[in-house]
Amino acid sequence: MPYIYNTPEDQQAMLAAIGAASIDELFESIPDELKLNRALDIPPALGELELEQHVRELAGKNLHAGNAVSFLGGGSYDHFIPAAVDAIAGRSEFYTSYTPYQAEVSQGNLQAMFEFQSMITRMTGLEIANSSLYDGGSATAEGVLMAIDTTRRRGQVVVAGTLHPEYRETIETYLHNLGVEVVTIGPENGTIPVSAITSAMNDQTACVVLQHPNFFGALEEAQAIATAAHNAGALVVGVFDPISLGLLHRPGDWGADIAVAEGQSLGTAMSYGGPVLGILACGKKLARRLPGRIVGQTTDRRGKPCYVLTMQTREQHIRREKSTSNVCTNQALFALRATIYLSLLGPGGLRDTADLCLRKSRYLAKRLTSAGRFEMAFDAPTFKEFVVRDKENNVEELISAAASQGLLAGVPLGRWYPELADCFLVCVTEKRTKAEMDRLVEFLEIGAATTNTDELVAARI
C-alpha cells in the first residue's frame, strides 16, 4: 500500500514485541460473528496514474467557471483569487496541521486566526468574531440560536423572505425541535417592507434575520428594519456579502447585533458549494454565547505576547450538553485564505472589486432588459445580482440551452419561489468582461427569437 511503511519483517518484529502470533489476533476482541469475513464490495484499488486518469475523466464531464462563462450567484460566487492565496494556503505547515490546541507549536495558525478575527470585526463594525463556522447557512442558524439564548425569548424568530432560501431552511431545521416558531415575511417587489416587520413583532420575538443585499441582490431598508426590530426588544441577525462592504455600510453600522456571512467570496473556490467559510461576528456583550473557536492574545511564561484558543468553557469538549454549540471542526483553512485575500486587496482593492461588480452588473441588466423578452423583476437598487423576468415564461429551457453553449446564464428561482417561476437570478462579478456579457445578451436574444434547438446550435456564438 502506498502509505504504509511496515514491511513483512517489520510486522513480524512488531508482533513479537506485542506477544501476538498474527495481526488477526489483535482483532480478537471483536466477536467472530460480528466480523465481515469477506472482502468489501467496493471497486478495486487504482494506482496513482489510473486514479488521475479516472478523476480527470470525471472532471472533464463537468462544466465549470473555467470552461464556461458563469453568471451564477445566489451565495456562491466566481470572484478572482490572486495566485498568492493558493501559494500561501497550500503550504504544508498550514494545510496539514491540526486545530491549534498546542499553542506553542501553532503560533502561525493562531496569529493568522487572530488576524482573521480582527479583519472580520473591521469588516462588520462589530467587536468580536469567532474563527469560522461551516458555511453561511449554518452560521445564520447559529446566529439565530445565539439571539434566542441571549434574549431568552423563545416564541418566534422573524425571517425575511428575501433571505437565501437554503439559509431559511437551515434555520427551520435547527429550530424544528426547539419549540421556536419561524415566521417568514414575504417580499413585496423584491424587498421586505418595514411595516411588515413591525407588525410581525411581539414580546417573544428573539430576532429578525435580514440579508442585505438580499438573495435577489437588492438593497433592503436595513437600518429602518433594524430599528423596528430593536424597538420591539429583538436582536438583528444581519446576513451580508463581504464583497459588498467595499461600498456599503457595515452590518454593525446599519444595526445588526449579530452579523453572519458566507465568506467563500474571499479567496475560496466555489467547489460545488463546499467546503466554504461561515463568518460570525457580534457585539461584546454576546461574547460568551459565541459558538466555535476563538483565538485570544495573551503572554507566555516569559512575558512574550502570543496567541491561544480561549474562552473554551463555551465549547463542547468542556461543557458538553451545556455548550453554546456542538461545533468542533471548523473551516480554518478558508479563514486563512480570507485573511490572505483581504490582506492582498486591502481597502482599495475591496472597494474596486465592489465597484466593478456594481458597474458591470448594471451594464448587463441594462442590456438584457433593453431587448423585448426580458425585464427587471423588481425596482429596488441592486448590488451585483439582479432578478430578470422572462416574459415568455420559459426559464428552465432557456438556462439549459444557454448551458449547452457554455453560458451559465443564471439561477432559476421557481424551486424556491413558485411565483417567480418565470424569473432567474443573474450575477456579475469583477471577472466578467464586456465581451462575455455581450455574448450572453446576444445568445439570449437569439434564444428569444428561436425555439428550435438545432437553430440554436447553428447560431453558436
Binding site: M14, T96, M437
Partner: protein, 497 residues
C-alpha cells in the same frame, strides 16, 4: 533565523498607499450616465470609506504568512500521535484531483446535465460508504462530524415523530451517551432538542451494563456509542447494547470517529444479533479516516449512513442514478430540512473518494490492520513506564495515564505533552477521556514507520526520567513557552484594535 519583523501583526505592516492586488479598469460604459456608486445606489446605504484593512504589497503578504507557517507543526513535517484525531498522511494525489477546475470551479446551482462527473463521483461515494458501514442510505450534506451527529439525531426525531407519535402518541425524549464519549455527542443531542442521559463506563472504557439498563426505558430515542470506544477498546457488549436498545424501540447511533480501526473488518450495521441489525446510523469523519488534510482545524465533512427505515427522513437532495444519468433527488416528502446551504463539503468528499479508490477492499483492510498493529506495538513499548489502565491490547489507539508520575514526582500529562514538543513530536491528546486520570491518548495511525514509533517511545521514556522542574517549564525550544490561558480567558483580547 527567526524573522521577527515580518511576523508582526499584518496591521502593523500596513503603509497607506500599498496594495497587493490591482483590479482591471472597468471595460463597460457607465449605464445611465452614472459616474460613481451613489448614482446607482441610495446615498444612505453607502459607507464613507471601505473597511480598515491592512495596506500591504504582495511580497510582504507572502513573507508574513510563510514566516507564520513556519511556526506550526504539521503532518507533513512531524509525527502527530494525537489520539482520537487520526492524523494520518494526506496524499498529494488527492490534492491534485481536488484542485482540478472541473471540480473546484463548479457552481452549486449549475444545471444537472453540466455536472454529471461530479454527481457520478458523489453517487459512487454514497455507495462505498454504505458498504463500509453495512448500512443502506447515505447523506453527504453535513459539514463535519458533529454536524453529522446533529443531522442524524434530527433524522431520528423526524422518524419517531412520523412513526411513534402518529401511531401511539409516544414522545421519545432521551439520548443516552456514555461518560467517555466525545463532547460533541451530548452537545449535538442538546441542539437536536433531546435530554442527554449520561451512562457510566467501566474501567476498560466499555459501557457499564448495570447503569445502562437502569437508564434504558421506553423514552429512549437514541443511544450514541463510540466503538472502538475512546480508550481504544472494542465494546465487548455491543450486541447486547444493540439488542436492548432496539427492544425498547430506540436507535443506535455510531460515532464514527474511530472507523480507522475497523475498515473491512467489521461493519457497524452488522453489530446486532443475527438478523436484528446493529447501528442504525453513523457518521464518518473523512478528514480523519479518509485522509483529508485538517487545514489547522478544518474543513472536514460528516457524511452519515442510515438503515433503510430511516432513509426517507434524510435531508434532500440525494444523488440518484437514473437511466438518463445522475440526478439530484429533491422529491423527498418525509425528509427533515437541510442543515446548511448547498450540497455538502464536496472538496473534502472528493479527497475521500480518491482515498477509497486508491485503496480498494484489500487496501482499506490493510489500513486498519496496520493502524491497530502500530498502536499495539507502541502500547507494548510504552506500558512499562507509562501505565495503560485499560490493559494489554488496544485497537487503533490507547490511553496511558501519568497518574503515578503525578503522585510520585509531580509530573503531569500536560508536562509530558509539552516536553514532547521540544523533541519534535506533536503532543498526544491529553486529559481526554475525562474518565482516565492524567490521560495521554496516543493514536499513531498506519502511516508511521516502526522506526518513528521506536524513536517516539524512546523519547517518551527519556522524558519520564527527566527532572520534574525541566518538564514543568517545558517546552523550552518552541517559538513561545506555555501561554497564560487564564489571563487570555479573563481579559479577552480577541482582535487587534
Amino acid at each position: 533565523m527567526k524573522n521577527t519583523h515580518d511576523t508582526k501583526l499584518i496591521f502593523e505592516l500596513s503603509k497607506p498607499g500599498c496594495r497587493g492586488a490591482v483590479l482591471p479598469a472597468c471595460d463597460v460604459p457607465s449605464p445611465d450616465g452614472g459616474c460613481d456608486a451613489s448614482d446607482w445606489l441610495p446615498a444612505d446605504a453607502l459607507a464613507d470609506a471601505p473597511p480598515a484593512l491592512p495596506e500591504v504589497t504582495e511580497p510582504q503578504v507572502v513573507r508574513h504568512f510563510v514566516n507564520l507557517s513556519q511556526q506550526n507543526m504539521s503532518v507533513d513535517t512531524h509525527f502527530y500521535p494525537l489520539g482520537s484525531c487520526t492524523m494520518k498522511y494526506n496524499p498529494k494525489r488527492n490534492e491534485r484531483a481536488a484542485a482540478m477546475p472541473g471540480f473546484n470551479e463548479v457552481h452549486p446551482y449549475q444545471p444537472e446535465e453540466t455536472i454529471q462527473g461530479m454527481l457520478e463521483m458523489l453517487y459512487e461515494l454514497q455507495e462505498i460508504l454504505n458498504e463500509i458501514s453495512g448500512l443502506d442510505a447515505c447523506c453527504l450534506q453535513p459539514a463535519a462530524g458533529a454536524h453529522g451527529e446533529l443531522t442524524a439525531l434530527l433524522v431520528a426525531a423526524a422518524y419517531f415523530k412520523d412513526r411513534d407519535f402518529k401511531d401511539r402518541g409516544e414522545h421519545r425524549t432521551k439520548v443516552l451517551v456514555p461518560d467517555n464519549a466525545h463532547g460533541t455527542n451530548p452537545a449535538s443531542a442538546a441542539m437536536a432538542g433531546f435530554d442527554t442521559v449520561t451512562v457510566k463506563t467501566n474501567p476498560d472504557g466499555g459501557v457499564c451494563m448495570e447503569d445502562f439498563r437502569a437508564k434504558l426505558d421506553s423514552d429512549i430515542a437514541v443511544f450514541m456509542i463510540t466503538n472502538p470506544n475512546t480508550v481504544g477498546i472494542f465494546e465487548s457488549n455491543m450486541q447486547e447494547l444493540a439488542d436492548e436498545v432496539h427492544a425498547h424501540g430506540g436507535l443506535i447511533y455510531l460515532d464514527g470517529a474511530n472507523m480507522n480501526a475497523i475498515l473491512g473488518i467489521t461493519r457497524p450495521g452488522d453489530w446486532g444479533r443475527a438478523g436484528t441489525g446493529g447501528a442504525d446510523m453513523q457518521h464518518y469523519n473523512p478528514h480523519k479516516t479518509f485522509s483529508g488534510p485538517h487545514g489547522g482545524g478544518g474543513p472536514g465533512a460528516g457524511p452519515i449512513c442510515v438503515v433503510e427505515k430511516l432513509a426517507p427522513y434524510l435531508p434532500a437532495p440525494m444523488v440518484v442514478k437514473k437511466e438518463t444519468g445522475y440526478s439530484l433527488d429533491y422529491d423527498r416528502p418525509k425528509a427533515m430540512g437541510r442543515v446548511r446551504a448547498f450540497f455538502g463539503n464536496t472538496g473534502v468528499l472528493l479527497r475521500a473518494y480518491c482515498y477509497l479508490r486508491t485503496h480498494g477492499p484489500e487496501g482499506l483492510k490493510e489500513v486498519s490492520e496496520n493502524a491497530v498493529l502500530n498502536a499495539n506495538y507502541l502500547l507494548a513499548k510504552v506500558k512499562h513506564f507509562l501505565p495503560v489502565p485499560q490493559g494489554g491490547r488496544c485497537m487503533h489507539e490507547f490511553v496511558a495515564s501519568a497518574s503515578k508520575l503525578k503522585s510520585e514526582r509531580g509530573i503531569s500529562a500536560m508536562d509530558i505533552a509539552k516536553r514532547l514538543l521540544d523533541y519534535g513530536y506533536h503532543a498526544p491528546t491529553v486529559y481526554f477521556p475525562m474518565t482516565v486520570k492524567e490521560a495521554i491518548m496516543v493514536e499513531p495511525t498506519e502511516t508511521e514507520s516502526k522506526e518513528t514509533l521506536d524513536a517516539f517511545a524512546e523519547t517518551l521514556f527519556r522524558i519520564t526520567e527527566e527532572e520534574a522542574e525541566l518538564l514543568h517549564d517545558a517546552p523550552h525550544t518552541t517559538t513561545i513557552s506555555r501561554p497564560n490561558e487564564v489571563q487570555a480567558a479573563r481579559n479577552p483580547c480577541l482582535s487587534c484594535r
